[in-house]
């Protein structure tokens, strides 16, 4: 008996990849998720939040491993409560923990996971081989997983999530334990999955720098609630400041800019120039020529994901926004 996944399910609204409404989950007295509502569109979405914010609960709910106490969640139109199996067929999950069997061959295990997701055996064998190749494990696929390095194991974890051609991949801390080159390759791989393979990705990570690199949008949780969500393009808004760094601190440059009517905040070799209009760029350029300043860095200051994230957390360290609140932050439901 077979199931045809080519037809889209009947109840897709607004073509969201994931949609939740008032999702609530309690563990005894602890409220892990509190009426969380958000939508995830296609592309790569980062899932962020402090430890204990409800991310792992959310992931388990999305995989149909837990049922919500209240509210609902749909993945590509399938309700996680009533259709958990369909949901799992669509999702490829790469957990954070070590979860690979040591005495299986990589090829065998990835094939097995493909079969468990419904692939016929012949197809699973072929796809396992191809997938392992795509994640960069060509020759090693006939070796036992137990002998693999951390980087190779992470790739196998990714391959088993990818083998059955999921519509969405859920990656939990995929760069854990990887050295800088491995991190780079994993992030590049995730980028390829999103853009070349056109598979939607939900990426849960504590490394904001990774999310900034590969994600198109974010959902930020705290205390079981969604405190921000949206496209990074929109959230990371430009601030009214331009950062200029010179090779050595240049008081002359600061003077020249102030003379031109711009307010300037000087901090050693780094200077923040007030942005009122695009004219500021010409002013900086001309002031630099005039004072023979060597500018090593010039950029309109934009909110970083870190700025946005911290602004939403309580008790953030002093490094929170200097220039007011994050503009363009869309709040979740309350």
């Amino acid at each position: 008996m077979s199931i045809d996944l080519r037809e889209p399910p009947p109840s897709i609204q607004n073509h969201f990849v994931v949609e939740t409404k008032d999702l609530t989950k309690r563990y005894g007295k602890i409220l892990a998720l509190d009426r969380a509502s958000f939508t995830i569109s296609s592309g790569c979405t980062g899932l962020l939040g402090p430890n204990g914010a409800g991310k792992s609960t959310l992931i388990k709910l999305l995989l149909g491993l837990l049922t919500p106490d209240q509210g609902e969640a749909t993945i590509e139109g399938h309700d996680v409560k009533t259709q958990p199996m369909e949901v799992r067929r669509l999702v490829g999950y790469m957990p954070e923990i070590d979860c690979l069997p040591n005495d299986w061959l990589a090829q065998d295990f990835v094939r097995y996971m493909g079969e468990l997701h419904g692939l016929p055996t012949r197809v699973a064998i072929q796809r396992a081989s191809d997938t392992l190749y795509h994640v960069g494990l060509g020759e090693e696929r006939y070796r036992a997983i137990g002998g693999f390095s951390t980087g190779m194991k992470q790739r196998v974890k990714l391959a088993q999530a990818l083998v059955h051609d999921p519509r969405i991949m859920l990656l939990d801390e995929p760069t854990n334990g990887l050295d800088p080159a491995g991190r780079d390759e994993m992030l590049a791989l995730i980028g390829r999955i999103t853009h070349e393979m056109e598979i939607n990705v939900i990426l849960s990570s504590h490394l904001l720098i990774d999310i900034e690199r590969v994600a198109d949008s974010v959902v930020i949780l705290n205390n079981g609630r969604v405190i921000a969500q949206g496209a990074l393009r929109e959230l990371m808004t430009a601030t009214p400041a331009v950062t200029v760094r010179t090779r050595t601190p240049s008081a002359a440059l600061v003077e020249a800019l102030r003379k031109r009517g711009y307010s300037v905040e000087a901090n050693g070799d780094e200077v923040q120039v007030e942005y009122r209009s695009e004219d500021v760029y010409d002013a900086i350029r001309d002031a630099a020529v005039e004072t023979r300043a060597a500018i090593v860095h010039l950029k309109r200051r934009v909110l970083s994901l870190e700025d946005i994230y911290l602004a939403g957390q309580e008790g953030s360290p002093a490094g929170a926004l200097q220039n007011g609140h994050a503009a363009g932050m869309t709040g979740g439901t309350r």
Binding site: S149, N176, D179, R183
Partner: protein, 332 residues
């Protein structure tokens, strides 16, 4: 008791060390708290580290390297958990092997687990405090727990804690005795973004206060924010040492890559190509990427070039100045 006095080399050991080649000082004159001379460690045929020589002093230093480069072996050699096959290690002037008194001055936060699941967080940290002969155990424990933000869950057994909490408990036991030297192996594992920032700030403060903090980490972006001093290991050997900006400057076989965002990139490019030292100019739709071997002249020339071309200058960005780029160049 001033931490300068404990473990400071005596007159005789200083002379002996000088004879052994331990200068006791860093090149800039600051005292060296950790010195390693020609250290190698091998296990049968396998060479874990080979001919390491370096010195560390107060401040934050990052120990970097690909997996398998010998970082954990190096950390074990510094903490006396391993004895070198050849060469000498001196921490605060003494060998760390079988040196319990020295351990009072050192804090180690290892990567591996192996904690006692039945102990509560507080008990675990107090145990460390007692082992290090801390005089006011309760206060020191509270302070350490406060720093790692585990004070309100201090009575939870370690077995019931998440990986991130166990990691922070480990950090707490590493600093409860206010050690002169703190050695941390991937200390931020499992920490959420805000906790990471808080801990990074804390380590930076420790470095500024004169402690010797050695952090091994793969997250170069974060390491960079705590300080510029690095030790890079590749395949068991020391590949680079010092301020990574200075290391970058030494790489004169690698031209600097700079992206200049401007209107009318072609005209600006035409001017920039005349700057001596420009090796290549790569034109994109709204920017140019230039490779230059004379960065100072280049940076001086950019605003001038834009002005002469009548173009607006929107951005100047060094593409390979950061630690990640420097590291990549060192490893390849």
């Amino acid at each position: 008791m001033s931490s300068d006095m404990i473990g400071a080399p005596t007159a005789q050991s200083a002379v002996a060390d000088q004879k052994a080649g331990f200068p006791g000082r860093l090149p800039d004159g600051r005292p060296a708290t950790i010195e390693v001379q020609n250290v190698s460690k091998w296990y049968g045929d396998k060479v874990a580290v080979s001919d390491l020589s370096f010195a560390l002093g107060p401040g934050v230093t990052a120990l970097l390297g690909p997996n398998g480069a010998g970082k954990s072996t190096t950390l074990k050699l510094l903490t006396g958990l391993l004895q070198p096959s050849r060469g000498q290690v001196r921490v605060l002037g003494q060998s760390p092997v079988n040196n319990p008194k020295l351990y009072q001055q050192m804090g180690l936060v290892p990567e591996q687990e192996g904690l006692y699941p039945f102990l509560s967080i507080r008990q675990f940290v107090e145990l460390a405090a007692r082992l290090h002969h801390v005089s006011n155990v309760r206060e020191a424990t509270d302070e350490a727990l406060r720093i790692v933000e585990l004070l309100d869950v201090a009575d939870r057994p370690l077995g019931n804690c998440s990986k991130g909490m166990r990691q922070r408990a480990k950090i707490a036991q590493g600093l409860v005795h206010d050690p002169q030297i703190l050695i941390l192996d991937e200390p931020l594992t499992g920490a959420d973004p805000r906790q990471r920032l808080a801990m990074m700030e804390y380590f930076t403060r420790l470095g500024n206060a004169g402690k010797t903090v050695l952090i091994s980490s793969h997250i170069l972006y974060e390491v960079e924010r705590m300080g510029s001093n690095v030790l890079v290991l590749v395949q068991g050997k020391l590949a680079a040492e010092g301020d990574f900006h200075a290391i970058r400057a030494l790489m004169d076989d690698r031209p600097r890559r700079v992206r200049v965002t401007c209107s009318d990139p072609r005209s600006v490019a035409a001017f920039l190509i005349t700057v001596p030292g420009t090796r290549s100019v790569h034109v994109e739709e709204q920017a140019i990427i230039v490779e230059t071997i004379t960065p100072l002249e280049f940076h001086l020339a950019v605003p001038q070039a834009a002005q002469s071309a009548g173009a607006h200058l929107y951005g100047i960005e060094g593409l390979d100045e950061d630690l990640e780029s420097v590291f990549r160049y060192l490893v390849n």
